[in-house]
């Protein structure tokens, strides 16, 4: 996976930039998306443990605690392997849910993918 997007499904796309990976998500993210996200990211981390992961939520219209759990689970794994994880572009529709969950106390937030990749 070198620079070309790898489509994992209708709501998820992964793109690699060296040791950084951007996951772009869209639509409503619940336990269905959580399972797919977990599988895709865990597969990636099995191959490249020190990866830094940035999750782009710009096109997400809904997320619930099932998806939040998948985010947090991946964060724990990435942190333990010495990598970094952040959230990019959280839109207004899902920001209250993210803030209520306290996830921003754990994960860095970036306005754009460029900001996230520049921080790495």
């Amino acid at each position: 996976m070198d620079d070309d997007p790898v489509w994992e499904g209708e709501f998820m796309e992964l793109q690699q930039y060296g040791n950084n990976v951007v996951v772009r998500l869209a639509g409503e993210l619940d336990l269905v998306a959580a399972a797919a996200f977990k599988e895709a990211v865990d597969d990636l981390l099995d191959r490249r443990p020190g990866t830094c992961l940035y999750v782009n939520l710009e096109r997400v219209t809904f997320l619930d605690s099932a998806f939040l759990g998948a985010l947090l689970g991946r964060y724990r794994r990435i942190s333990q392997a010495g990598g970094r994880m952040g959230i990019v572009g959280a839109p207004g529709a899902v920001r209250p849910t993210l803030e209520l969950s306290g996830i921003f106390r754990t994960m860095a937030e970036y306005r754009t993918e460029q900001d996230a990749l520049a921080a790495g």
Binding site: D30, V32, A35, F62, S65, G69, L72, A93, T97
Partner: protein, 149 residues
């Protein structure tokens, strides 16, 4: 605007039906005087309750049914999510935030339901399933009621 409606469905206990439940709840709430933000809150509460039934009630096993009842009565939405699964042994503990039997989960389901709906009642016992009853009144009607008093 619709002021009275009732929908009862039995959903197969598969993850894909959590989205079906959200869609039904959102459509019925949108028929009444709920704002878009309030419809989003209803969607989240229903998503959490149905997910709990599928994942915890039935342990992720398909082949079971989750009953979803949505009633709209003069601008008040009532939602019941019921399963005949394993039930909750310690309900008080289960309803505390960040308490979960699974390290992958945040344990925020009940917290989100409580903060996004006007009321939440949970009846559950081991081996006897779980019934979640939630209500929400459109804020426009809240305010109309307050000014009338």
């Amino acid at each position: 605007m619709v002021t009275q409606n009732r929908v009862t469905v039995d959903l197969a206990s598969i993850p894909e039906n959590v989205g079906v439940a959200r869609l039904l709840a959102a459509m019925i709430a949108a028929q009444a005087d709920f704002t878009m933000a309030e419809v989003d809150e209803v969607k989240l509460a229903v998503s959490e309750a149905v997910t709990n039934a599928v994942v915890h009630g039935y342990g992720g096993q398909p082949g079971h049914l989750v009953r979803l009842e949505i009633r709209l009565e003069e601008g008040q939405l009532e939602v019941v999510v019921a399963d005949t699964g394993r039930g909750i042994a310690d309900l008080q503990l289960a309803m505390q935030p960040a308490v979960s039997s699974d390290p992958e989960r945040m344990g925020l389901g009940f917290c989100f339901m409580e903060s996004h709906m006007d009321s939440l009642q949970v009846d559950s016992a081991p081996g006897r399933g779980t019934r979640v009853f939630m209500t929400k009144r459109a804020s426009a009607l809240h305010m109309a009621g307050a000014s009338a008093n």
